[in-house]
Structure formats: C-alpha cells, structure tokens
C-alpha cells in the first residue's frame, strides 16, 4: 500500500489465561476504507477490535494508527471511537448530553458543543430528539444516538462492534444503507465487526474472515464469495458444496479439492451443455424458497450437494426420488488450498 494505512496490526496476539483468543494477526486497513471483520462468535474479531480501541492490551504484537504506535496508549488517548453492541448510552443523561459527552470532556464550551451535537443528531436523522432520555428511544434510535456520539468527536477511525445485531431485519437493512452513506460522506475509516456474512458482503470494501483467532481469508466481497480458499470460508460466507481431493477426482473427474456454489450447479434434462462436468444423482429433497428452489441431490459416490434453481416458467420441477444429471461449468469450481 502506497500511503500510510489507517490501521496497521503486526503479530497481534491476545491470550486469556491458557486460551489464545487472537493469534498473530497482521493486517493493514487503508484510510477511508469500509472494512469488515467477519467470523463466528469466539473467532477473535471482537478482541481485535477491542485491542484497536485500547480496551484490551495485546499479549504481544502492536497496533499502529496512521503510522504511530499506540499499543501502550489508553483508550482516551487514541483517535478512534467505538459504537458498542449494547450502545452503552449513559442512562442518566439526555440524548443531547450523551452526544455532546466527547466534546464536554475535551473542554468545548456548552454553546458550541450543543450546536455540534445537534448537527451530529441531524446527521443520523434524529433532529429534535435531544431532550429525551435514552430509555424513551427504540433500539434503532439508540443505535443512531450511539453513532452520533461517536462521530461528533470526528475520529479518524470508527469501530463498530456488531452495531446492528440487536435490530430486526427491516431496520437492519435500512441502517446498513445509512451507515454506508454516512461513511461515504464523511470519508472516515469504518471497521465493522459482524457475524452476519450478508451484512459484510453488502457493506464492505474489503472483508477479513476470522476463524479460531486468525484471519483465514482477506479480500473484497466478490473475491471472497467467488474464490473461498478454505472449506470454512466456503461455508461461512454463503454455502458451497465442498469436494475433497479424492471426491473431486472420483465424482467430478477434476484435480484437487474445490468448492462450488449452489447457483452454479444446474440440473439438466436431456443433453448437458458442451464443456460442462456432469454427474448423476437422485433428488433427496426440494425446498421452495419463493424466487428459487433449493434441490438437494445425492450424487453417485455418496456426495450430497445443494442446487439452486430459479423458479422460471421453463423449468420442470424436480421431485424427491427423481434420477437427475447435474452439470457444472469448470470455471465455477473454486480450488481450495
């Protein structure tokens, strides 16, 4: 990377007693990037975030912020701010006092800080909510207050710890759009922790997939979805049929372990298109999903795969027990390392 990264992590390790939560993470995050850390719970992503914020001291390794080593600095000496999973709004303060808090502790006078806090509330579309108490707000509104409170002090990097986890689906989708929009307008670096692969794919410029304390794959949403490098990524980010080297050889006649997405497998009736790999199997079950149908096929050679069929008019529906042929274009077979 040409310019100094916003965040640079080197050999970052955190042990809690005998448990290694984070194991030697190296990572560069560019300024202005919307970066997601995606992984199941216990994969170390939140611990990495807490070490960037300064809430946890790394066991070894270091954290740099725009080229400056901040490993030993307290949270209040770092130019990063956090939006917490549980929002952590101060219950004894009104919304406007919550938002103005960061300015207050920096010694900004009352008039200026209230004006800036009002602007921040406007940014998250909560004008006129300043006098309310946090307990009088809905989950989505509290989320926005937490965001405004973190943004008002103009951090260089904003850390978001599963910020949408507690919201219902509709609200979550709406907040995703707004978060992305705010990030683009302000141009600051967002580091977003989530276990929701769809959320990560939707929002991020780049994604680091975490598992067991380390980064297993790093890349753009498209790279990770198209070319998952391990069976874990293939099934944590979307779903895939994963073939071991032996299975690939006997069933697909191809070399090396690989994975393939359900939407890239076709059920063919009649002649398979030229250049495709085919295999025979029996339909185990069909699941109607609305726009598409998921067909579970047991291939000869004892391998169960999922096929995603679009429900358009030309399709003949499959039924349990049908003997079918599946076809895969070789370019959709993604090799696993």
């Amino acid at each position: 990377m040409a310019s100094t990264p916003a965040i640079r992590l080197r050999g970052l390790t955190k042990k809690f007693g005998p448990v290694t939560a984070v194991d030697g993470v190296d990572l560069d995050i560019a300024a202005g990037e919307f970066f997601s850390m995606l992984g199941p719970s216990g994969s170390g992503k939140t611990t990495v975030l807490r070490m960037i914020a300064g809430f946890e001291a790394p066991t070894s390794g270091h954290v740099e912020l725009f080229g400056k080593d901040v490993t030993g600095d307290a949270p209040f000496d770092r130019d990063v701010n956090t939006v917490f999973q549980d929002y952590a709004l101060f219950p004894h303060m009104s919304v406007i006092d919550n938002v103005a808090y960061g300015l207050r502790v920096r010694g900004v006078n009352a008039k200026d800080r209230l004006a800036q806090a009002e602007d921040a509330l406007a940014l998250v579309r909560l004008e006129g909510y300043g006098e309310r108490n946090p307990s009088q707000l809905s989950g989505g509104q509290r989320q926005r207050v937490a965001l405004a409170r973190a943004l008002v002090v103009e951090p260089k990097v904003l850390l978001l710890d599963e910020p949408l986890g507690a919201l219902d689906l509709k609200l979550r989708e709406q907040m995703q759009v707004e978060l992305k929009d705010i990030q683009r307008r302000l141009g600051i670096t967002f580091i977003f922790v989530t276990h929701d692969q769809e959320e990560a794919l939707t929002l991020s410029d780049r994604i680091a997939v975490f598992n067991e304390g380390g980064i297993v794959q790093l890349g753009t949403a498209e790279e990770i979805y198209r070319n998952p490098q391990t069976p874990f990524v293939a099934n944590f980010v979307g779903t895939s049929a994963v073939f071991t080297a032996d299975e690939a050889k006997s069933i697909l006649g191809s070399k090396g372990a690989c994975s393939v997405r359900p939407e890239h497998i076709d059920i063919v009736r009649g002649k398979a298109p030229a250049g495709t790999i085919t295999a025979k199997g029996i339909v185990f079950d069909t699941i109607f999903l609305g726009a598409s149908t998921r067909v579970i096929v047991d291939l000869d050679g004892d391998k169960r795969v999922a096929v995603l069929e679009q429900n358009d008019l030309s399709r003949t529906p499959s039924h349990r027990g049908d003997t079918v042929t599946v076809a895969i274009h070789p370019q959709f077979l993604s090799p696993l390392s």
Binding site: A53, G54, F55, A74, P75, F76, V80, N81, T82, F84, D86, A88, L89, F90, P91, H92, Y101, G102, R104, V105, R106, R149, A150, V153
Partner: protein, 264 residues
C-alpha cells in the same frame, strides 16, 4: 396466581397474627411512654407527657443520643469510603486471593457480635494498648458497616457493567472524569442506600459496643439497658425507645424506596 376464598382468608389471618406479634409490643412501648404509671404496666392507668418532658431534658439521655448519632455518622463515613474502594477492587480487578478477600470482607456481618466484641476488646486493650472510647466504638462499628456498603455497591457495579466506563474513556475522558461523570452517578443511589443501612445498624448496635465502649462513653442502646431496671426510669426508657424507632425507621424506609425504584 389465583387462590380460593378459604386459603385467602387463612393467609390474611396468618399474616395479621405474625405482623401483630411484631408490632403490638412496639405500640405498647409507645403507649407506655405516655402512661402515668412509673412501671411498664398494662393497661396504662392514665395519660401524661411528663416522661417526654423529663426525657428530653435528661442530660444522660441527650448525651447518649448525640453519642449514638456521631458514632453512626463516623462509622458510616468510614464504611462508605472503604466499602466503595473494596467493591471496586473486588468487582473490577483480577488478583491473586480475590475470592478469599471477598469472603473476609463479608464475614463480619455473619460473625456473632459477641465474638467480634471480645476479639476487638482484646485487640484494642492488650495488643494495641489503646484506651477504649469514641475511636474504638467507631472502628468496631465500621467493621460491620463496611459490609452493607460493600454489598450494595458491589451488586450495583456488577449490574452496571463496564461498558459505560469503556464508552466514556473511548470518548476521551480520563479515569477521574469517567468516575465523576459516569460511574459515580450510576452508583450514587447504592451508596446512599448502603450508607443509610449502615447508619441504622450502627445506631442500634449494643453487643460489640458493650465490649469496645469503655466506661466513659455511653451510646443510646447502652443507656437504655442501664436505665431499664432502675426505679422510676422505665417510662423514660420507653420515650427513648420511641425516639430510636423514629430515627431508625426513616433511613430504612428511604433505603427501601431507593432500592425498589432502582430495580424498576
């Protein structure tokens, strides 16, 4: 839960009997303080406010009241300080022997007062060679008052968690600013409740006080015990008992209101 009529009546009756058993004798004491008889007889033969006048001009009684209030205030002040510091140490930090320290802090409230009393008496007199008096009572009371403050603040800190403190420090506040603006407002009512309970505990303590007061200082409970069986003093004791009830009831009532309003 729905219960039938008979069970309901029975439950009412049992509750009434139990509560009467507790409160009727107290009401008798109140009545006796206005009785014309100079012994604690029932029913009172007549009404007079003579004992109230005499009690409220009795120097020994007044001195005992002020001693008790000063002791309770001082031991509560010590308890607030130490209890808060202890609860932070045991709730927010990890260190070797933490659970042992936790047990040792809470234990004094379970120890029989007589044991604490003898132990402290021995420690003050023979080991430290200190004259028994004000200071020894206050220190002795503080040993169990610390526990009530500790329990209240400890439970509050556990419930509040660390995320508010983290948010504050994330937004740029140093340790003291965070305590002043965020942590303290969160534990204020727990401190108040713990302090009131501690005051009430100290105010009516007699066993530990007996062993640590020496002969020069008399707290209110000790004054009452000393005067209870003296001729013609019984109604004055009744008056003082009523005063004690009033002083003890108010903080307990406020403390309970505070805890319930916080639990909403």
């Amino acid at each position: 839960m729905r219960i039938n009529r008979l069970s309901k009546t029975l439950l009412w009756a049992v509750s009434a009997v139990v509560l009467s058993f507790i409160y009727v004798p107290i009401l008798v004491v109140v009545a006796n303080s206005f009785s014309t008889s100079s012994t604690l007889t029932w029913p009172p033969p007549g009404f007079t406010t003579e004992w109230w006048t005499r009690a409220l001009t009795n120097e020994g009684a007044l001195a005992a009241i002020s001693t008790s209030i000063i002791v309770a205030l001082a031991s509560t002040a010590i308890a607030l300080l130490l209890g808060t510091v202890l609860s932070f140490a045991l709730q927010r930090f990890e260190f070797f022997g933490k659970s042992t320290v936790n047990l040792l802090v809470v234990l004094p409230i379970a120890l029989p007062g007589i044991v604490t009393g003898i132990a402290l008496n021995n420690a003050f007199k023979t080991i430290m060679g200190v004259q028994l008096g004000w200071a020894t009572i206050i220190v002795a009371h503080a040993t169990f008052c610390v526990v009530t403050v500790f329990n209240n603040v400890f439970a509050r800190l556990k419930r509040v968690g660390t995320s508010l403190d983290e948010a504050s420090s994330d937004l740029g506040a140093g340790i003291w600013t965070t305590f002043r603006l965020v942590t303290f407002p969160q534990i204020r009512s727990a401190l108040f409740a713990g302090g009131l309970l501690s005051f009430a505990l100290s105010f009516d303590e007699i066993i530990v006080t007996t062993f640590t007061a020496g002969s020069g200082v008399q707290t209110l409970p000790i004054f009452i015990l000393d005067n209870m069986f003296r001729p013609n003093q019984a109604p004055i004791v009744a008056v003082i008992a009523v005063v004690m009830i009033l002083i003890a009831i108010v903080p307990i009532y406020i403390a309970q209101r505070l805890t319930t309003s916080d639990q909403r």
